[in-house]
Amino acid sequence: MLSEAAIEVSNLTKRYGDVEALRGVSFSVNEGEVFGLLGPNGAGKTSTVEILEGLRVPDGGSVSVCGLDPQKSGSEFKYAIGAALQATALPDKMRVQEALDLFGGFYPRRRGTQELLKRFGLEEKRRAFYSQLSGGQKQRLALAMALVNDPRVVFLDEPTAGLDPQVRREIYDIIVELKKEKKTILLTTHYIEEAEKLCDRVAIVDHGKVIALGTPRELKERSGAVTRIAVRMAKPETNGALSKLEGVTECRVEAEDYLLYSTRVPRTIVALVKHLEEQNNELVSLEISTPSLEDIFLDLTGRRLRD
């Protein structure tokens, strides 16, 4: 089956006064894909998403969502999308159930309030005021509201920002569920972990530009970041032969461990095993840590993500 692009962004530019927020952003998201925009604060992620949601007008370039122009398509566009915005709230004295009823009422096609309450674990909080909810509950409600019209495309702008790790994992589970439903999801984040866990493809954004794009795996393979192999052996190694193994760029000793940095992991491991046999040595433990997107970001920009 030919998958048609659900979101198309081409050469997008946007400036606020003197600040060039977007400097030619392009990417496309396929139907049913979870696509991540990853980058530090101020990289241009939210500007991109808000243009796609129709909240901001781009200065240049073009966007289309489900084949529609967010600025010109009116209700048809609004029916197709669902959004959990970054800087948003509900009135303090609005009850959870009322919010879902009210927003659901704006659409001809909608999901039942009961179903959403149950699915997002808000059944017990149905009568609670918005102001009485915890950060995690507010975020779950925001996600429920983004799905109230059963949209084709869902925008999640920093869905886990400011939440503690446990709540963040709850949100991940919800997004994984959505992925199973074949919803097209555009997600922004500055958490590497989130992008790696959830996204089919990731665009790394920095200073208003896409600096790398691909599956998390592709990005890792493509980048110069190297894999670290931590080896512990029965007898210590002294002659420096480990650093000459195939693919190894660097070898360091840390306590009892030998840390091998390799660009070609499978070959390095085969060579290592051969070497140990020759030396009549024995392998006690072996641990491989692949480069994270964080390493890739560092490699691409020379900066850490959270700087």
Partner: protein, 299 residues
């Protein structure tokens, strides 16, 4: 059809929120009732005959309260980013603004009814006046003042700014319209300015409907200017409406906002030359004043 459905859904929701807001309940129900009891106590010696005059002032205060009402709620919505959440739904700005007016109006009516009931049962007011005229004046007045509030809500950028501007305009409405200090007792110069205010026509119109049983025809010019102002103010507020706190209002738009006063500039000018508002006001004031002191006012 869809826009109407959205407007109604928002109206119901915003009424619910207003009912849960103590400040709103205080200003829309408790304060006007406090004025009613205060006036009745102050002018007790004139007995039930003074009640139509007093009730007209309280009704005007109640209606003018729409100026604060749900327009201020809209500023909070914008500041907290609540409006932008609505913006990604199919809800349009007219539904948002329309719900402000309608919910305000629906919430004003019970207060008006309670004020009538108390005047009648507790203070033995003899007649209800011309009920149709009162009803239409209350309706047009609520929409007018709520629309003016919407304009202020649109041209100001923060809640603080809104409150400062609202206070200034509110005090002008309160003190020189006749709603607190009877119109004939104001200095001549202030009277000449007061006839340019929508509030003055509301107070005067309500007094004539309550005391003289003035019908819609008698009050034609008042109704036309209140209606005109309501319409112009609503159109302007729709033009100025902003979903996002960071979108600033252009200075030209602020000038535009002043167009809402055009009907009153015209009516005020006419009233200053050959109007009868003052004559009616003086005559009606007799209900709460001794005849001897009236002579001084008439000259």
């Amino acid at each position: 059809m869809q826009a109407l459905r959205h407007t109604w859904a928002l109206t119901v929701s915003r009424m619910r929120l207003a009912m849960r807001n103590r400040a709103f309940l205080f200003f829309s129900l408790i304060m006007p009732l406090a004025f009613l009891f205060g006036y009745a106590e102050l002018f007790r010696r004139f007995g039930p005959d003074a009640m139509p005059y007093l009730l007209a002032m309280v009704l005007a205060l109640t209606v003018m309260g729409s100026f604060w009402g749900l327009s201020v709620q809209l500023v909070t919505f914008r500041e907290q980013g609540i409006l932008r959440r609505f913006r990604v739904t199919p809800v349009g700005s007219s539904a948002m603004l329309g719900s402000s007016l309608i919910s305000n109006y629906i919430l004003t009516l019970p207060t008006v009814a309670i004020e009538f009931y108390i005047s009648r049962s507790l203070f033995h007011m003899a007649s209800l006046g011309n009920v149709l005229s009162v009803f239409i004046l209350v309706t047009l007045g609520t929409v007018t003042f709520a629309s003016l509030g919407l304009i202020v809500a649109s041209v100001t950028n923060t809640m603080q700014e809104t409150q400062i501007i609202n206070q200034i305009i509110w005090f002008v409405f309160l003190f020189i319209s006749g709603a607190t200090i009877p119109f004939p007792m104001l200095p001549k110069m202030v009277q000449q300015v007061a006839v340019y205010l929508p509030a003055t026509y509301l107070v005067s119109g309500l007094q004539r409907a309550m005391i003289d049983h003035a019908n819609l025809l008698d009050l034609g010019s008042y109704l036309a200017s209140l209606g005109g102002c309501a319409l112009i103010a609503f159109i302007i507020s729709a033009q100025l409406f902003r979903w996002e706190p960071e979108t600033k209002v252009p200075r030209r738009a602020k000038l535009w906002a002043l167009a809402a006063v055009i009907p009153f500039l015209l009516l005020g000018a006419w009233e200053n030359f050959n109007g009868d508002l003052r004559r009616h006001a003086v005559r009606n004031l007799q209900l709460i004043r001794e005849p001897y002191s009236m002579e001084r006012i008439e000259h």
